[in-house]
Symmetry: C2
């Protein structure tokens, strides 16, 4: 790397990845990491004085009145850095503006956190643990599901099980969606009013965050007298999902998986779904690599991503089957979410 | 407004405010609102098809492969809009870049959601309810606090009380900090290991989200034999906090409150604190107006903000007293968080 070039990371998970430094508010900018030749400088506010970080990074707490971009500018000048690569999808317009005002040349990068796309052994361990907890939570809560219950109640069981039972966290608010709500891929359970009835189809999509790393799983449950249409559709969806997982082995570019999965579903006359076939999982619930028709990511060992085709009949019902998988040393999919994929009939 | 000028809102709370449209993932970009002469267009992805929004807005779901900025560009062209004002602190570099590529002139604004700074009657009602729930939660949980308990356990009681007891949500992860942890203003309870002992000083800082609106409160609790130093410091801090709340009446610019509060504390030889004296509260936990030494905001009736001075002795203990207040029609502070501000001694 050009010795006059540095990197500026702003995404809170990039900061966490590079320095172990974690901030409190997920939706606010509270820290940056400036990566120079031989040092990493965490730039944050006084509220984080004394916060822990890795030994190869140093903490700079902005004085009252000192703006973060002033500190960044000063560190660049002191280290004869004239150009900063930055995360183009993360830095805000005003931040770019403030840095330019200080004479820093800015070079947008879309792959600046590229090393996050392949996981280390430790990262894989954390993700496996998150997946394992998710499996256990499904075992724990399914015996309590019965007609009359609301989606909200089941979501709260899931959350309590994760937090009280396993001292882990939610990766996101669980999506628990019954009947016509299950046809909305991003259904918002907390705002909904759905209730389980005899014959209901129930979609449960949730993730665990353990040691900062996420899992993601979706399973379907039928309550009582589930229609043949649902059962038959499920068989075909599961078949496509399993074949797509198997297809990882021979995949070079991840967009092939997206194309393959949709083609498999079309063979059985299942409708197309409007979301991606999958997404990378790690410190962020949705991160690189992308598993969609427009993905430019290649398959690599130790990537972790989901495979989650779905069938949606608006105003009727929907179903999705989602696994979190890792790519093994041999380039095959190893499924990390192991709760049975059969349609669970209660 | 120039008929060739539109506004683009991207902050998820701005989108919610303008259109009632809510998205699932707080840390991801899932929607924009384009405000043209006589219409508001919500631009989002297919996963939100059928999601609710106000009658004066319309929903545009991007087709697969259609980028949001393509849709924005097309709507601008169709409506002869050449310039878009945008939220400069929210839009990312790549979004600005994509819009510019489509020939749209962009005009950064820092006050684009300016009307959010003064609350309507309905908004005030929701905030009052959130504050009221917070007061009740403190009454509910304080009888259960005893030596041997961990910070995490108390944080979980607070959350369960809010969610199970009042069907409301957390505004943020509660900060429950004991003894030396209380000296860290943004202490991260979930990562900590603190435990209450006889003589402990306990800081509880939490907020409720009810009907989308936040509250924010901090109270201090002494367990058993609390030192005279703590009691005396508390009296002076409380005095400064109460006087600052009263000073709202005669305040013109909000930075005066920040200066006034620090001066009051200095009179009693209390150390200065490194955070602001307060922040606006609404759909976002931290929003305009700012109550800091560099605030440019003027006091206006029906603003809602916190007043929260603190005293921090690193590695020893810290204390903060925080109320959420609204500015009344007469320009005075009406304190919305009504749980007693005396040092609660258990």
């Amino acid at each position: 790397m050009d010795i006059h070039k540095g990197r500026l990371l702003s995404n809170r998970y990039s900061v966490l990845y590079e320095t172990g430094f974690d901030t409190t508010f997920t939706t606010e900018r509270e820290a940056y990491v400036l990566i120079l030749q031989n040092k990493k400088i965490i730039i944050t506010n006084a509220l984080y004085r004394g916060e822990s970080h890795t030994g190869d990074s140093q903490l700079h707490v902005c004085a009252r009145g000192e703006k973060a971009c002033e500190a960044i500018g000063r560190f660049c000048a002191e280290n004869t850095i004239t150009t900063l690569e930055f995360e183009a999808t993360d830095l805000h317009w005003n931040e770019v503006h403030e840095l330019k005002k200080r004479g820093i040349e800015l070079s947008p990068r879309f792959d600046i956190s590229f090393n996050r796309i392949v996981k280390t052994e430790e990262e894989l361990f954390a993700i496996k643990q998150a997946c394992h907890i998710g499996d256990q939570v499904l075992r724990d809560i399914t015996p309590y599901i019965y007609p009359g219950q609301t989606e909200k109640e089941i979501a709260w069981y899931i959350e309590k099980s994760i937090r009280e039972g396993y001292q882990a966290e939610l990766a996101f608010d669980p999506i628990v969606a019954v009947d016509k709500n299950s046809a909305l891929p991003h259904y918002h359970t907390k705002r909904g009013e759905g209730k389980i009835q005899d014959g209901s189809l129930l979609l449960i999509d949730f993730g665990v965050r353990a040691h900062n790393y996420c899992s993601d799983i979706t399973r379907m449950i039928g309550i009582g007298a589930v229609s043949d249409e649902i059962r038959n559709t499920y068989v075909h969806l599961l078949d496509a999902q399993i074949k797509t997982v198997a297809a990882v082995k021979t995949t070079v570019e991840l967009k092939e998986l997206d194309i393959f999965c949709r083609a498999e579903m079309q063979k059985n006359n299942l409708p197309n779904y409007e979301h991606s076939t999958g997404h990378g999982v790690g410190l962020e619930l949705h991160e690189s690599p992308r598993v969609s028709g427009i993905s430019v990511d290649k398959k690599m060992s130790h990537q972790v991503f989901t495979i989650e085709p779905g069938v949606y009949f608006p105003d009727k019902w929907g179903m999705r089957i989602e696994d979190t998988i890792m790519v093994s040393d041999q380039g095959e999919a190893e499924v990390l979410t192991r709760f049975s994929k059969d349609l669970l009939l209660l």
